[in-house]
């Protein structure tokens, strides 16, 4: 179904109107030309007859007028055949063609007997509409004038013109249909780059590509370039926002470290009550910075379209990092992530989520950690499991709250799982906690697949 406000419909309707108008005008002109041509041929024939008859008129020795010979055309002998001639004298018709039978042609009164051929339309026998040519003839050796008339039925002319017009109309109609079809094809072909453009933009929105690629027609190329420039700018703005957020964090974290160290010194000097309060506030500030920094980064990242990242290399990078950070623990990692599992989003966000989940597993595991992934229905489920103590069912919901900590002896801010949950939510994903068959916690990260 074509929408009313569509380029294709506009082009098609516009072209159709022009085609129909042009062909109608052409058809009318052609029909008129044809009729004029046939009429001239007919009149030429009548004129010849007229001249033959005029040449055959004689009045030998001042006697009565005679016709030395009659035109030979057989149509002139057949009654009411539609082809007639007649010679009028002062008292009415003198000679008539046999085809006139018992009827005499009645001509309008001659207004200018000048010997030239005049054209008339008259009614003939049986109501036939006739085209008549007449001429006044004067004979050299006799007084008086005679009118010679040659006439023919107009019906034949009209029928021929009508037949021509009919054929013409059919031909032009077919031509019009063919032209409109050609225009439709042309519009289809012409608008194809627009469809490609639309498909490209849709792909960017769905995160399958980052930029419109390939060459487009010169008319749409500027649009494509502008769009790509816009995407580029968008990415730059996000990158700048990210850098500024990072700078802000950097700017705050070092003074916070110094403050924390001063508080430690204060505690050593015996001001334990004051230092405990300050330590609490510093911890809160640290949490706020970490939590909102991660959120800002993620929120900014989500607006950039076109990001897709394979999961396996990111898991491998986190594994590599954790293996170094937890080298003393001699942890066994079992990682099974198929190479074709792709996350639709930013690599940094994926690594932030994976890093928090896998580090959490490292902190609690006795010795074994497993990472697997599943892909179905456009969703990617990454599962991280460990063989640590796990969480009781009622703790699992609480674990996703920012700042929740279950063992103060294990270092951490208590933000990891909350950050993972927030990031996953931004990507319309989710995180589920449960019990692992390994014995510890099982975290399922559900994300859009690319």
């Amino acid at each position: 179904m074509i929408a009313v406000n569509s380029l294709r419909l506009r082009l098609l309707v516009g072209a159709a109107i022009w085609i129909v108008l042009a062909l109608a005008v052409a058809g009318t002109l052609l029909a008129a030309l044809f009729r004029g041509h046939v009429e001239r041929r007919l009149e030429a024939e009548l004129a010849t007859q007229l001249e033959q008859i005029a040449a055959a008129l004689e009045r030998p020795g001042a006697g009565s007028l005679i016709l030395t010979h009659q035109p030979s055309d057989p149509r002139l002998r057949k009654p009411y055949s539609g082809f007639y001639w007649q010679v009028d004298g002062a008292e009415g018709p003198i000679f008539r063609s046999r085809s006139l039978w018992d009827v005499a042609l009645r001509l309008p009164t001659e207004t200018s007997p000048d010997g030239k051929v005049h054209r008339h339309r008259i009614t003939g026998p049986e109501g036939q509409q006739l085209i008549a040519l007449d001429r006044t003839v004067t004979l050299a050796d006799a007084p008086g004038a005679y009118r010679v008339v040659a006439a023919t039925d107009e019906t034949e002319l009209t029928a021929a013109a009508a037949a021509f017009t009919r054929t013409l109309a059919i031909s032009l109609g077919v031509l019009a249909v063919a032209l409109v079809a050609a225009v439709a094809i042309q519009v289809q072909v012409g608008l194809k780059p627009l469809h490609r453009l639309r498909a490209g933009v849709a792909a960017i929105r769905e995160g399958r590509i980052k930029r419109l690629e390939g060459s487009f027609p010169t008319e749409t190329q500027p649009l494509v370039e502008d769009l790509n420039a816009l995407l580029q700018r968008n990415e730059e703005v996000v990158a700048r926002g990210r850098t500024q957020a990072g700078n802000l964090a950097h700017g705050l974290k070092t003074p916070l470290s110094i403050l924390a160290n001063e508080v430690d010194r204060l505690a050593a000097d015996g001001a334990s009550q004051l230092s405990a309060a300050m330590r609490g506030q510093i911890a809160t500030m640290r949490q706020q910075i970490d939590y909102h920094l991660a959120r800002t980064r993620a929120a900014a990242a989500f607006d950039v379209p076109g990001a897709r990242v394979p999961v396996a290399p990111s898991v491998a990078a986190i594994h590599r990092t954790l293996a170094r950070l937890y080298v003393d623990r001699e942890l066994q990692f079992a990682i099974e992530i198929p190479a074709d599992h792709v996350f639709r989003g930013e690599q940094q966000d994926l690594e932030e989520m994976l890093g928090n989940l896998m580090e959490n597993a490292c902190k609690w595991a006795r010795g074994r950690i497993a990472a697997t992934s599943r892909h179905d229905d456009g969703l990617l489920t990454i599962t991280i499991e460990d063989d640590g103590p796990g969480l009781a069912h009622e703790q699992q919901g609480h674990a996703l709250v920012p700042g929740a900590r279950f063992d103060d002896n294990v270092p951490g801010t208590g933000l990891g799982l909350a950050i993972v949950r927030d990031l996953a939510t931004l990507y319309n994903g989710s995180i589920k906690l449960g019990s692992s068959t390994l014995g510890g916690l099982r975290a399922e990260l559900i994300l859009p697949a690319g």
């Binding site: 990072g246 974290k253 403050l259 924390a260 001063e262 510093i282 986190i318 590599r320 950070l325 270092p411």
Partner: protein, 220 residues
Amino acid sequence: MRILIVEDDPLLSRQLADTLSRAGDAVDCAGDGEEGHFLGDTEPYDAVVLDLGLPRMDGITVLKRWRAAGRTVPVLILTARGSWPEKVQGIDAGADDYLAKPFQTEELLARLRALIRRAHGHATTELACAGVMLDTRSGKVTVHGAPVDLSAHEYRVLRYLMHRKGQVVARTELIEHIYAQDFDRDSNTIEVFVARLRRKLGVNVIKTIRGLGYRLEEPG
């Protein structure tokens, strides 16, 4: 142990240096990447605390250059940039540990000790030799369970020798690892420290290897 701190914030740098000195380490500080790189490239440190956002040369570049030149010194990255992609980048550049600011001093100390221990192939925080026990975490030394009171320099000498148990340690090597760079070094003081150590420990574990240096070993 001799530790290099590369940190552009002078206040934090001084705090770290104070903390580490109190824990019995010789500390050098560098305020920018180039100076840090130069020191790490020329002085034998036992561990480096490296910030990433540094003037003149960023921390990742410093680290990569050390590693490319074959410097295996344990490096702990201490940075405000605590996101996972940044951790991955730091570890991939050759860091041994990564600590995000703001940090707890105890955690930094514990991690540094762990790095040094690991670099010397020890799994626990306690070093032992013929009844002499040295806990690198608490800084306490005991002989057959009885605590021994050591000065900072004596402690440093003993700790270094115990990390290198069974190996010959040259005097110059000892000097390099127990004094900070800008300290007035005198190799004769080493002999004084060793003599005091032998007296305080009461067990003959430090052997003098003539012309080479010292070796810590089980007596007999």
